[in-house]
Symmetry: C2
Subunit: 241 residues, 2 copies
């Protein structure tokens, strides 16, 4: 079973205050890049793995998706997603993605946004593979493996005064316990190679590999994003059958 | 024109003393992983971009390649490659890979080993694309973008005494001038995403993405390789039409 840290009060409160929780998709700096990698959602059956407050589910329906299934382990997040408005073509269901059993090939698009994949011991790729229909596709973002690998993740300043992101244990896959919003958050590190090769071995074709880079406009609006030029924070992948 | 640092005496002497120069392919720790990603070379026409001393060209012929064209900018390296033995099905030619003009679709396999791609301002992917036949493939290794990105590449030790590889400027592509074997070596940094997307956009299908991880046996034989678990040093890619 995946760690259910989102239902822990301190974590939930912290997460609820993030821009991506308050403003939704527009508060997530990687969203414009991820959106550009999505297929047209018009008419599609979509599953959102780790739907959180349901921002993407609602966006997809507004853009013509036939139906959206939002899955999450957190009761608190699902309660807020349901409270945001009712739509009989959006279903929110509680699910432990590590132990999910849904019909094979049920969806045209499997979607996932950051923080879900890193929480799962086997990654999302097994689910993308099982849930996508033979003509289906998957678009997801995840914390970048370079962001997730370090034993002790955090910025450092080198002798010349430059901000750096010190990497260690990159080739050693497995759990990482860090403090983010709450102590003892467990993530599961996998390399980029492993992430992509799982999809390839299951018959997916890699369509695009993005690494979030803030635009000049984003940096002008939110100067703190400038540091995201130094290290890759999010990995964005689009794959199709 | 690419920088021709290999013909500079100090660099050439240093490079000639590397294990990969003295022992050939078996001296390159990433070779077993790269070899496993190669198609059967039996009967293939192969181009080796940045062939150096010709180790791969000779290996390919020993394994049944029909013909091998080894291209390099360095006169000194080509002279040593030619001196290693004559084979009328191996041709070594001097070429600036940044300005190469060879017939389109001429080869079944385009190959490249580390240090070539990083020296080229536009990367090798343009060449892989132009030189591979419609049924062709490409297998290459390159310095990993995480290895190449930093302004001042080098190990650091964190407060807990852990060895780390500090990354900066990852999302800022372009030249990097570093000291390696000689001062003023110019490399050209591109992200993993850019490297893969160039191939995808040109109609290649990504077959495998490897990131060199030393095996236990390699570390036992060469304990200094243990540090390569901390950072990704080489990126290995196999792509086909």
């Amino acid at each position: 079973m995946a760690q259910n840290i989102y239902d822990q009060a301190d974590f939930f409160e912290g997460y609820s205050r993030l821009d991506r929780s308050v403003q939704g998709l527009d508060g997530a700096p990687e969203w414009p890049a991820l959106r550009a990698m999505l297929p047209k959602v018009d008419g599609l059956s979509i599953v959102d793995l780790g739907c959180g407050f349901g921002w993407f589910c609602r966006w997809a329906r507004e853009h013509g998706a036939k139906e959206v299934l939002g899955l999450d382990l957190s009761e608190k997040m699902l309660a807020r997603a349901r409270a945001a408005g009712s739509d009989r073509n959006i279903n929110y269901e509680r699910a432990d993605l590590d132990e999910l059993s849904l019909p094979k090939g049920r969806f045209d698009l499997a979607y996932s946004s950051p923080y879900t994949m890193s929480a799962m011991s086997h990654g999302c790729s097994r689910l993308f593979i099982r849930l996508s229909s033979p003509a289906g596709s998957s678009t997801f973002s995840t914390e970048h493996p370079i962001f997730m690998a370090p034993t002790n993740p955090g910025w450092s300043v080198d002798v010349a005064g430059r901000k750096t992101w010190p990497v260690d244990r990159y080739l050693v896959e497995g759990p990482r316990t860090t403090d983010w919003l709450a102590p003892g958050v467990v993530k599961h590190h996998r390399t980029i190679g492993t992430t992509l090769n799982h999809l390839i071995q299951a018959g997916f074709t890699i369509g695009h590999v993005g690494e979030f880079r803030p635009t000049d406009a984003q940096i002008a609006a939110r100067p703190e994003l400038a540091e995201e030029l130094e290290r890759p924070m999010f990995l964005l992948v689009q794959a199709r059958r």
